[in-house]
């Protein structure tokens, strides 16, 4: 009988191969063999996603592989999610640095490659991503964030003439009294840390890998804030 490491390797390989059917089968097999769901997540799925992310950064993998990996992760997560929830409940809700993200390219802008890469990388890192696509009115972004109880809103604009709509989003959150509820990440070729700060967003990142790190930091900060307020 295969040992735990073998099951985890199968999961990891399926993710690296971007094979959604194989990742679902491998995840199910691992669970049936009583492998810890957290180990499957971290040492199988995330470990595979890390490899894909590194290969993407080094120019060995390209966007299709990233998208296929995102798909494979989604298939595996659908199987493992209920078990993870049980596991997190057992741990007292000490969930990893992931959360729910609503992403969109803002109203009037239809450029989505950067946003798609970030969405794929976030998914690959265990975030639950609701990608609303392109040219999305800010009211819809906020409404979706409320509906899915998001931790984070990520919005993007490549066009300098669409960037003002990201400021509108932050302003509207403030006006609605919802600013503290959601962390806001902004991105796009012309978006700088200065711009992010100026419009009152919580941050921006230069690339997808850094965007994931930023999202993780923001989620941690949010959980700490909540922890403090609860105490």
């Amino acid at each position: 009988m295969a040992n735990e490491q073998t099951y985890l390797e199968e999961v990891k390989l399926a993710i690296i191969d971007g094979d959604d059917k194989a990742s679902a089968v491998a995840t199910r097999d691992a669970l049936q063999a009583d492998v810890d769901p957290l180990a499957i997540l971290n040492d199988g799925l995330m470990a595979g996603a890390d490899v894909v992310g590194q290969r993407f950064e080094r120019g060995i993998f390209f966007l299709p592989q990233l998208m296929l990996t995102g798909r494979a992760l989604k298939a595996a997560m659908a199987i493992i999610e209920p078990r993870l929830q049980e596991r997190y409940a057992e741990d007292g809700g000490n969930k990893a640095d992931t959360g729910v993200v609503v992403m969109a390219t803002v109203k009037t802008d239809i450029h989505d490659i950067g946003k798609n890469i970030v969405a794929s990388m976030l998914t690959a890192s265990g975030f639950q991503v609701h990608d609303l696509g392109v040219d999305v009115p800010i009211k819809r972004i906020i409404a979706t964030a409320q509906e899915v109880n998001a931790n984070l809103i990520g919005c993007s604009a490549l066009l300098t003439t669409s960037m003002p709509f990201m400021r509108d989003l932050v302003d509207l959150l403030v006006a609605m009294g919802e600013r503290q509820r959601f962390k806001v990440m902004v991105g796009g070729a012309s978006v700088t840390p200065e711009f992010a700060e100026k419009i009152g967003a919580d941050g921006t990142a230069q690339n997808a890998v850094k965007a994931v790190q930023l999202a993780q930091r923001l989620i941690r900060a949010q959980r700490e804030q909540i922890g403090v307020s609860v105490r």
Binding site: F62, L63, P64, L68, I110
Partner: protein, 459 residues
């Protein structure tokens, strides 16, 4: 028979439905992957300028197969715009071989260039897409419009007018685009070349500006405007409207598929295949009078990375050998004004474009992401292109030159904040419109280096 543009619109409204996600992954990415495998396509990062006619022909065949297999996608209607092979072939046969830009004594004729063509490439100066505050717009364009080597001009984007920010789909786009055209016409008069051709209406992302400037006082019928395709092989109604706007008025349509190298097409060979397919499709969807070749790098954006240079090279050669047409290729270096690397990047890119069959457009310095472009690098772009054509640089010689230049600038892609250099008002004395001494000195030194490398006819 050739399609009426209304037929294209009909097909966009009534073609087979597919979600955009499935178009991207199942259609574009997967089909390209299969075609790359079928034709066994590969590239060599040490051979940026290829001397392999068979490879150019295979890339063309692969691109044609992709176009025939997929067609285009309407993002507005989520329908596939399908084409018969005969329609695509007729579209290619009807691609203009010459195209007059501008009017009167300032008019220039674009033509379909050949590989290693000894006729001079035309020099189209400017940095489309680069955001400019209003006070820097005129100095920037003036800096290249005043250069005698420049044949046509283009420009960046006005991001504010009268202190108000320009927002997409806002009525202010009409004002900003008309303001842009007023400035451009004023600049052409100022440099004594009022008939020079332009590629303009860059200050409006939506179709508003395009519609608002289709008038002889603004964008003349002898000028060009962009009719972009979206990544990858997609149109939307904004861009369909731009094509429609030219129908009776007669502006020159520049198709612009900015294929992402490392994107849905995968590595360089797949991206080249997607670029070929995009040009073939755009003959019908964009009513192309000429094609703008502007692949961009997935991570680095610039056109001066090895893989993007290779794609520009092979796509131009593919068309020059199999379906000659007018291709103008963009130079968007990573570096900005007052950096030596900008000049190396510009020279390398100009060599690749000229020797493999394109005309020159640029420079979108600093990734076209800042008002950090000047007339000086546009001058160098033209001078290098002319030297390459004049002295009959071979494909192999061009490759050796480019590899030498890559060694001098490739480190910029590792710089955490890029290499944006200086703004136009820091790079030029605005009173005299001359480059500041250190920028001019850098230019002279790099030209000396280029001559020593073998570009002996560089004037």
């Amino acid at each position: 028979m050739i399609l009426s543009y209304l037929d294209i619109i009909d097909r966009a409204n009534n073609g087979p439905y597919i979600s955009e996600d499935n178009w991207d992954l199942e259609k574009v990415a997967m089909t390209t992957m299969k075609i790359v495998e079928k034709y066994d396509l590969a590239w060599n990062p040490e051979e940026i300028v290829t001397d392999d006619p068979g490879l150019a022909d295979t890339i063309f065949d692969a691109g044609l197969e992709l176009a025939q297999t997929l067609g285009a996608y309407s993002r507005s209607t989520e329908r596939i715009i399908e084409f018969e092979p005969g329609e695509l072939e007729l579209g290619m046969r009807l691609m203009p071989q010459t195209l007059v830009m501008g009017e009167g004594k300032d008019a220039r004729t674009l033509y379909a260039r050949r590989i290693m063509d000894e006729r001079l490439p035309l020099v189209w100066a400017g940095n489309p897409g680069a955001p400019h505050p209003e006070e820097l717009f005129v100095p920037a364009v003036l800096s290249w419009a005043q250069e005698p080597i420049v044949d046509m001009i283009t420009c960046g984007t006005l991001v504010e007018v009268d202190g108000r920010e320009v927002r997409t789909e806002d009525p202010i786009e009409i004002i900003s685009t008309r303001r842009e055209l007023q400035y451009l016409r004023q600049i052409l008069r100022q440099v004594g070349r009022p008939g020079m051709g332009m590629l303009a209406a860059q200050s409006s992302v939506s179709e508003l500006g395009d519609l608002a400037t289709a008038h002889p006082d603004y964008l003349r019928p002898c000028d060009a405007h962009l009719v972009p395709m979206l990544n990858e092989l997609k149109m939307d109604n904004r861009n369909v409207a731009r094509a429609v706007n030219s129908l009776e008025y007669g502006m020159r349509n520049a198709s612009l598929p900015c294929v992402i190298v490392g994107g849905l097409g995968g590595d360089a060979p797949g991206s080249a295949v997607v670029n070929v397919a995009s040009f073939i499709i755009s003959n019908l969807t964009c009513l192309s009078d000429y094609h703008l070749c502007h692949p961009i790098h997935m991570l680095h954006v610039a056109t001066t990375t090895r893989s993007v240079l290779w794609v520009e090279n092979i796509v131009q050669q593919a068309f020059a050998r199999n379906a000659p047409c007018i291709i103008v290729s963009d130079i968007y270096p990573k570096s900005g004004a007052c950096t030596r690397e900008l000049l190396y990047e510009t020279a390398a890119n100009a060599i690749v474009i000229t020797v493999s069959g394109g005309h020159l457009e640029g420079c979108g310095s600093a990734d076209g992401n800042a008002p950090n472009g000047t007339g000086l690098e546009a001058r160098l772009m033209g001078e290098v292109g002319h030297a390459v054509a004049r002295q009959g640089v071979s494909l192999q010689e061009a490759n050796a030159l480019v590899l030498t230049l890559l060694e001098k600038y490739e480190h910029v892609f590792e710089m955490p904040n890029g290499n944006p250099g200086a703004r136009i008002d820091q790079a030029y004395e605005l009173q005299t419109m001359r480059p500041v001494p250190q920028w001019e000195q850098m230019y002279k030194e790099v030209k000396t280096e280029l001559r020593e490398m073998g570009l002996v006819t560089l004037t």
